[in-house]
Symmetry: C2
Subunit: 127 residues, 2 copies
């Protein structure tokens, strides 16, 4: 498996854990030895593992935990950092996401996630 | 100057060029030897230097070119990648931003920018 493929696999695991409301898998996926942060749609930045994981616990165990499908995912690896961009499909709309992974003991672990609603698409098909 | 300070300086140069509507400086700031992409608020992902720089040209030369102040900026360097998170203050609201830089010939060059509106802040002061 190439570095890029491994980063895309980690990204898919994020969305699997998300949509399965699998809190333990989500916790396992986030980096433990690097600073982590997260920008949920509309929120201010969460800094640090404790605040980020608490937010995921709240989201995944809430009564309105969303189901999310990921598509158009693309990875860019540079050293021990992988940048994955993708779109997220939710029941009530689409979001654009940037997911950053860092290598920890040979595995890609999440260090940042930002998702924001897509309001407009180009009429000419650019995306 | 440390790597972190240099990344923060590149980030400030991004906002200086943005708010000064300095198209040439903006063009200079973006990476030339790495893939670049950009997620403007509400837009779908722009992929590739041509599409990204065209968007900046449109934004900076438009009659409603915004003025943006950056604050609460923090940088995380890992090898040849720098992740900078910050808030953007515009006349009509605040955005949260992730800016990614990559090292090119000793300089931090932008490879990705995502900004999304902040809708809620925590009542307890968490941010």
């Amino acid at each position: 498996m190439t570095d890029n493929d491994a980063a895309l696999a980690a990204n898919l695991e994020f969305y699997r854990a998300f949509t399965a409301h699998d809190w333990l898998a989500m916790d396992r996926l986030w980096a433990k030895k690097h600073p982590v942060m997260c920008l949920h749609p509309g929120w201010t930045l969460l800094r640090g593992r404790e605040a980020v994981m608490q937010s995921w616990r709240d989201i995944l165990t809430g009564s309105e935990a969303p189901h999310v499908m990921c598509h158009d995912d693309e990875a860019f690896v540079n050293g021990d950092v992988a940048i994955v961009v993708c779109e997220e499909e939710l029941r009530d709309g689409s979001l654009a996401a940037t997911n950053l992974f860092v290598r920890e003991e040979g595995n890609w672990r999440m260090m940042h996630h930002q998702a924001s609603p897509i309001i407009a698409r180009y009429a000419d098909g650019r995306r």
